[in-house]
Each structure stands twice: as C-alpha cells, then as structure tokens.
Amino acid sequence: MAIVPIIQLFGIDVVRFSIDLLTLYSLFLVVSLTLNFEAGYAGIPNFGKVMFVAAGAAAAGSASGQLAALILSINTHGNYNGYIYQLIPQIDAALSNNPGLSIGLLLFGLLVAAVVGAVLGFAASFPAIRLREDYLGMLLLASAQFFQIILSGYEPIIGGTQGIEVPNVFGWFFGDEIGVRDVAVLLVLGVFALLVFLYCEKVVRSPLGRTLRAIRDNEIASRSLGKNDVAIRRKVIVVASAISAMAGALLTFYLGSVGAETWTRVTWTFWIWVIIILGGAANNAGVALGAFSFTLLLKAVDQVKFNFQPFIPVDVNWLEYIMFAALLIAILVVRPDGIMPEKPTLTLPRTALGHIMESNANPAENERDEEESTKWTS
C-alpha cells in the first residue's frame, strides 16, 4: 500500500499543494490549448468554452455510470438518477477490484464526451464560419448561458442542480485513500495534457497550422490560393470542442460528481481567456507557461485566502474575481501579446535546411539529399 508523504513547509503541505496544483494545471492546460487552437491560430473567438467542457462532463458522468450499472447488472429500478445514492457505492465496490472495467469505463466516458463535444462543436461551426467576431462572441456567450440553464433544469441528464455522483474509476489503483487516488488522477491527467500539447504542437507546425494562420490573417488571399477556409475552420472547432469535452469528462471522474453548478462562466470561459492572454495567443509554449503562472497564482491565493479570511469581512472569492479581472486588463494594456508573443515557426529543422542548401550548391549529391528533403517536407 503506497502512502503519499507529508512534507510541511511554512505550515503548508507541499506535496498536497503540488498535487493539487499540477492536477488543476493539466486541466487548464488542455482547455486553454484548445481555445488557443481556435482563437489564437484559427481566429475563432470562442466565448462559450464552458458549454463544451460542461457538455463533456455531463455526458461522461451520466453515460459511464449507467453503463457500469448495466454491465454489473445492478438493478436501477428504471430510474438511474433517482437511485444514484444507492447505486454508486455498489458500482464503486465492484470497480475497486476490477481494473479492466475501471479503465474501460474511463475510456468509454472519454469517448462519449469526445463525441458529444464534437457534435456540439459541429453545431457551433455553422455560425462560427459565417459571423463576424462580435456577433459570434455574443451568440456563443448566450448559447453557453442557455446550455447551463438546460443542464440545471432538465433532470434526466445529470439530475438538475442537485447533480449526480459518478463511478470512481481510480479506486483499483493502490486502494482508495484520498492522497493515493489523487496521484492516480494526476498521472492520467498529466499524460492526457502532454498528449494534447504534443498534438497541438504537431498540428501548428504542420502545413495545416500555417494554413490556419494564413486564413486568420487574410481570408481572401488564402482563399485565392485554393484553401477551403470553411472546411478547415469547421475541423478546428470540432477537434477543439471534442478535446475540451474530454477534459471536462476527466475533471468529472476526478471530482466523483457532476452538477450544473460545477461549471461556471468565470472558471471555464473567463479564466481560460486570461491564461491565453497572459501566456500569449498563438503560441503553445506561451499558453503552457501562462497556464502554469495562472494556476500557481490561483492556488497561492487559495492558500493565503484561508489564512487571511478571518481578518477580512468579505468573502475572498470576490476579491479574487476583481484581482484577476484587473490582471487581465493590465496585461492587455501593458503587454497585449502576452509573456511569449507569437513567433513564426521554423518549418524545417536546421540540419535539413543545411542539407538542401548543400545539395543546391553541389548538384552531384542531389539524389541522396532529395530523398532527405522530401522526407521532411511531406
């Protein structure tokens, strides 16, 4: 049985703090990378991000529990949400010694979330490819608002405002202790975030990434070069929405419950935008740095907050709102391109470029180098 060590430093549990920090960081990183993909590279300002994240969370939370009840043949009395408080302990007990089913459920939840996110993204792409930025912003913000009303009002999905519990798919991993479970979650989230980061880097360095920027910067010119801007934009929204829905699903599995109140416009739209602006739009490394600085700031404020709360007559959360709003505006004024501004990507590694230059200078070696250069450019 593994036990997470406790290291105290200035009255703060450092290990606990780092685990929480990195967990939140992975989630913020994934969602902000997808928003960067849409807003930074493709020029689609998505002001309704919370809708896609919450949709994935709701779909995964609801579907994985129902599937588990079906597979384990637990009687749901035809009303899954109604008997949720009796069902979830039974499912959890079965899952804690069944790693295969747990992983299967996790993957199933991610898949459902991705499909729901992609469908929503596809729906959102219809206005996104037609409307100007300001109209699109208004429409997506309003849609996200309405979506949350549906989630809180329509009980069959996630039981309305009360929310529902979600099976614990990490229970098999060295027991069910709180600290150990968090490490398991962090591993899964970290791997997921890393994969998403590598994927985004790969895409923006590919010909598609350069096409995206061309469309963003000059739609007419890129169209005249035969680029199908509508199809490419649609692809970006669908992929970005699917990934952010998967991030929502992972947070749901981590929290062990999902409710309409979990997902607020402040956290999953506004803070994600703060991260993008802070780090630098259209720069994945910048966004990663921005997400880290922001999460560190947020968690540090959280730590300080509980020490100072007795001395401040108001809820510190409100001060947090004002502080981050002021931070965002300050960045927009002082450094609008963020910590790491957008850079032109070098399409070929220097060695490959060197080979090409050499082969141009020395035609006798052309044959060997042509193979090399086509390998890099294709």
Binding site: E133, F146, V314, L328, L332
Partner: protein
C-alpha cells in the same frame, strides 16, 4: 384585474426595450459588444434593493440615483478600460475580453456589497432577493405596469428629440457615422462618446431598479439577462436605436407569451426553457436578417407585394372575362 400574462408582457417588453436601447448606444460608439452591460443593470438592482431595505425608499424614488450610479460606472469603464485599449490599437477580440473582465470584476464588487449588507444589516437574502413590493397600485394593478412603458416612451422620445433637434444629438449622429469627418468639422468625438456611454449606463441601471419591482434580483441578476438584451439588440440590427427598442419589445413580449402558450399546452416543464426563445430569435435573425429588422425596407416590400397582388388579380380577372366571352 388584468390577466397576469398581460402585465408580465407589458413590464418585460418595456424593460428590455430600455435595456436594449442602452446597449445599442454603447455598440454604436465603440463597435464592441459590451459583455459588462448586464452588470450596469445589476447596479440598478442593488441600488433599489439597498435603499429600499435600509431607508425604505421606493425604487421609483431611487431610480434617478441608480441612473447616476450606472452612468458613472459606464463612463469610468469606457474611459478607464476601453478607450485606453483602443488607443493602443487593441483588436476587437481583446476589447471583448476586456468587457468580459469588467463584468467579472463587477460581479466581485456586487458580491462584496452583498456581503457587507449581510454583515452590517443582517439581510440574509442580499445575494438573491425577491421582488421589492410596489409602492402604489392603480386600477388593481401594480404601479410598475404603468411606469415601465411610460418610462420607455419618455426615454425613446427624449432620445429621438436629442438626436434630431439638438446640436449635441446631431454631433452624436455625425460621430457615429463618420468619426474622422466629425473631427474635421470641430466635433469633440471623445466627449460625445462619453455622453453616449453615460446615457447607456444610466438607462441600464434605471431599468434594473424597475426590474426588481417585478422579478427577483441578485449578484448575477443582470449578467443573466444578457441573452435577452443581446438578442433584442441584434434583432434591432445593433446599429439602430429605434430598432433596438422594437427588438426589446418583441423579445420581451414573445418570451412571456410563447412561454405562456407552451405552459398551457405542454405543462410546467417547459418553464425552464424560457431563455431559449430569445436565443432562437437571435440565431434566426443572425442567419436570415444579419442586419436586423431595420435593414428591411418595409415600404418597398409592402409596395412590391401590393403591386404583385394587384397584377395577379388583374391577370385573373382578364382570364375570367376571356373565358366568359368564350374565347380560347
């Protein structure tokens, strides 16, 4: 006693007309959708709530105070955030994010204010409160049913007179139509924009203080209304002040009336989808009439339809006459 849905429609439609008018004023001048506009409405809500609960001042009496507070908030947002950013050449998206940030900051301020009310006066409902009782009734209906449409009428008329009859109004129109040309003839465009924002924040806060006479308010009370306000403004074309009033009336009325019909026909479960109606109207407007109702030349449409119908009738008449004469 009038039926409840009739009074609901009157109040709702008038207040959204008033709110949409203000939003359009801000959009006309800075060309940025102002996501913080809902918070100006909340300023009115909390002014009315605070003054009523502490001093027993009726919201009708506190509406002018709300107007001034909302106007101050709006002007300081314009001068302190948007003008600085646009002078630095920020993109439209940056400006939109900045307005969202201002909205979040306002939510924080309302939170602090409501915490203060709770700790100082022990108002436990200060985060989410029920409507304030109306101070007078007329012919068995609450006073707001008369005050809201009359206020909308007066404000619309005043704005109309301002824009057409006064020099300041002409300067406003000129600054909106062509800022550089307006500067050339010596109009202080910046001052005109500040005045437009002053009015916009004032109208929003005023409608907010009326709103809590009819419906519950709270920290996010105004922010939750932006679906309706934007829908109304988009329906009016985002560029026409009178169009936005019309849009607000249509959105407010259709929200109440469609929900009423749906509740009667389908049952109480449809109630939560009320906000879907303005959203659907907004989507349809953006896809079918992206420039709003006022972009349609109704007179030409009408004349065109009229002449089409008349020529069709003539053709029909002639063919009947021919048939009657036995011609082939």
């Amino acid at each position: 006693m009038v039926e409840a849905f009739v009074t609901d429609t009157i109040v709702y439609a008038s207040l959204f007309g008033l709110m949409a008018l203000g939003l359009t004023l801000t959009y006309l001048t800075t060309k940025v959708p102002n996501f913080a506009y809902g918070s100006f409405v909340t300023i009115g809500m909390y002014t009315a709530f605070g003054l009523y609960r502490i001093q027993k001042i009726s919201p009708y009496a506190s509406a002018p105070i709300a107007f001034v507070l909302g106007a101050i908030a709006s002007v300081s947002m314009y001068l302190g955030v948007l003008r600085i950013l646009s002078k630095r050449g920020s993109s439209l998206v940056s400006l939109m994010i900045a307005t969202l940030a201002v909205d979040i900051a306002f939510v924080g301020i309302f939170g602090i204010y409501s915490d203060y009310l709770t700790s100082r006066y022990a108002f436990i409902d200060s985060k989410q409160f029920y409507p304030i009782p109306d101070s007078f009734t007329l012919f068995g209906t609450a006073g707001i049913v008369y005050v809201a449409p009359i206020s909308l009428g007066i404000v619309t008329l005043a704005v109309f007179l301002l824009l057409t009859q006064s020099k300041l109004g002409v300067a406003m129109r000129a600054s909106v139509e062509n800022p550089s040309l307006a500067r050339v003839v010596g109009i202080n465009v910046e001052r005109v924009y500040v005045f437009a924002w002053f009015l916009a924040g004032g109208f929003a806060a005023m409608s907010g203080s009326y709103y809590v006479l009819w419906l519950p308010g709270g920290i996010t009370g105004g922010s939750n209304l932006i679906v309706e306000i934007f829908a109304a403004s988009v329906l009016g074309g985002l560029a026409s002040i009178y169009g936005s009033v019309l849009g607000g009336l249509i959105i407010g009325a259709s929200e109440v009336l469609v929900t009423k019909v749906a509740l009667d026909r389908l049952g109480s479960w449809v109630g939560i989808y009320q906000k879907g109606i303005p959203l659907i109207i907004m989507v349809v407007t953006l896809l079918v009439l992206p420039k709003g109702l006022t972009s349609v030349d109704w007179r030409r449409k009408f004349v065109g339809t009229y002449s089409f119908v008349v020529s069709g009738l003539k053709l029909l008449f002639h063919s009947i006459v021919r048939l009657a004469r036995g011609e082939s």
